[in-house]
Subunit: 306 residues, 2 copies
């Protein structure tokens, strides 16, 4: 097993995960799970890649506003766009989700799905994280990449169930995590088919699924139609996904990544606006969920660093 | 190849399908398609099983109204329910889709996804088709079952893209077609997560996707996130799905099943209310779509009959 998980230290956390895989996949084991039911779901922000100081997709949206500002002179005097142009992060954060919807609409809608994927990939190739100065897709967690490959090698399907945008994720997660587009469940707005000799599918502004909290089990049922047997998250937004996964019959594994590593990544939990983990910390013990302690359990964090 | 498709006669139709599979899957072929892109989508009603005299899911809904009528005395005097109880098919058909929405809501919502699947399976085990007196799931098309197995053996993913209800389909298509729930795209209303020690997911009345006409490419993008390379349908409701599939770059195959066989199944096209095929017949030639002529191309229709 050590070949599969070199970035995990030999701690009880790693052992709990490996034990679960062994007892659910070995023929004749009491807890054997048929291959079709081996479904593992993963949150993305804070579980598969970093999410501080702000969700990376939000930083993408801000970069897009700056890139499009020359074509939108009216944004100089219109909130919330003017806050982006003036780099007024305080007002942006204070505006909250609903106040920022115009930014999401202006940067995510009115474009074909193919063009949007190109925009996201171009951004990933050029943008750099404000603190680490790395590419954002270099801030994925190496131990989680290894874990997903290990699970797939044991017949588990690996799915993303993220509050992030479905088409945003699809643009890069196949290359980075080995997860194909049909296994990406995310938040989404509407799609509109444009017929013709060269038909296209346009992204619209109409909100349809917020794939967070109770929206996660809803998204899982909508796309998968099966209850997963393993779920990995890191924040209270993943609580319902872990609850839905671990209250089913038979062997189940729920795990929360606790960000405890200010030296190598970030340290935050109950008091954080982004990726707040509070109820999950309170209830993990009684619910039998594994707490992955980043500082303790991981030998390294990012693929190209210690 | 004859081992895979014994219910198909040796006609140019069969040859066109087999040729497409050979030239897209043989290593080194000019039209080779990578396994990840081998996606084939199938309409269900009229393409994988019969749909006359009315969509089978609608007959299910009528049976459910009759089964629940004793608990709803008010239905005796309320349209559209009273039409069901009085067996007034003329008024039911005249009411059209919107007029029948209360029946769909009363028989498909306010129930957990697990309980609904049990209801559908119980109905399939006991209900009989009014004309053939067969089980409804015995009225699936044997040649299409063979075709899907043949495609899967050649590395193609097989997906259902149906105007029928997603949870209705999932209850039986894995057993009948070998298609797992995560490869079933259908029409759907809302889902609501109910938390707790034994959480559940409830089906609600809120319409979300009508997976027909332009809704089919939308559903494909939403669930698959890839453009298929093969599409099979039988009615104008599948037109946009075939258009979206066959206008992509590289090798593509679109096919429409033409119901020409009054002796073994049903014969209908341009004038039918159910499964109307009109524009598709007009444009199949110029678009290079294959027309499968049931009477000519199929050696047998249903699994247990000629």
């Amino acid at each position: 097993m050590s070949d599969w998980l070199p970035s995990w230290r030999e701690t009880p956390t790693r052992q709990a995960i490996v034990d679960f895989v062994l007892r659910t996949t070995q023929a004749g084991a009491q807890d054997f799970i048929a291959p079709a039911d081996r479904i593992a779901v993963f949150d993305n922000d804070g579980t598969l890649w970093s999410e501080q100081p702000l969700y990376f997709q939000f930083l993408f949206a801000l970069d897009r506003v700056r890139a499009l500002a020359a074509a939108h002179p009216e944004w100089k005097t219109t909130t919330p766009f003017k806050w982006v142009i003036e780099n007024d992060m305080k007002s942006l954060v204070a505006a909250g989700g609903k106040g920022l919807m115009p930014i999401i609409a202006a940067t995510h809608a009115g474009v074909t799905t193919e063009a949007f994927a190109d925009i996201v990939r171009d951004w990933l190739a050029t943008a750099r994280h404000p603190a680490t100065h790395r590419r954002y897709d270099a801030m994925v967690f190496k131990p989680m990449q290894e874990l997903m490959a290990y699970l797939r090698a044991n017949g588990y399907g690996t799915w993303i169930v993220s509050g992030g945008g479905q088409e945003f994720l699809r643009a890069w997660v196949e290359t980075t995590y080995g997860i194909p587009p049909q296994q990406v469940i995310g938040s989404y707005a509407g799609l509109a088919y444009v017929p013709g000799a060269q038909p296209a599918i346009l992204k619209t502004e109409q909100p349809e699924l917020v794939d967070d909290h109770a929206g996660k089990p809803v998204g899982i049922q909508r796309f998968l139609g099966r209850r997963p047997v393993m779920a990995f998250g890191n924040s209270d937004g993943d609580f319902e996904m872990l609850e839905w996964t671990t209250t089913g019959a038979g062997p189940r594994l729920g795990a929360l990544l606790h960000h405890t590593d200010a030296a190598r990544e970030f340290a935050y939990d109950r008091a954080s606006v982004v990726g707040r983990l509070d109820r999950g910390l309170d209830e993990a013990g009684q619910r039998g969920w594994v707490l992955i302690d980043m500082a303790r359990d991981w030998e390294r964090v990012y693929p190209d660093a210690t």
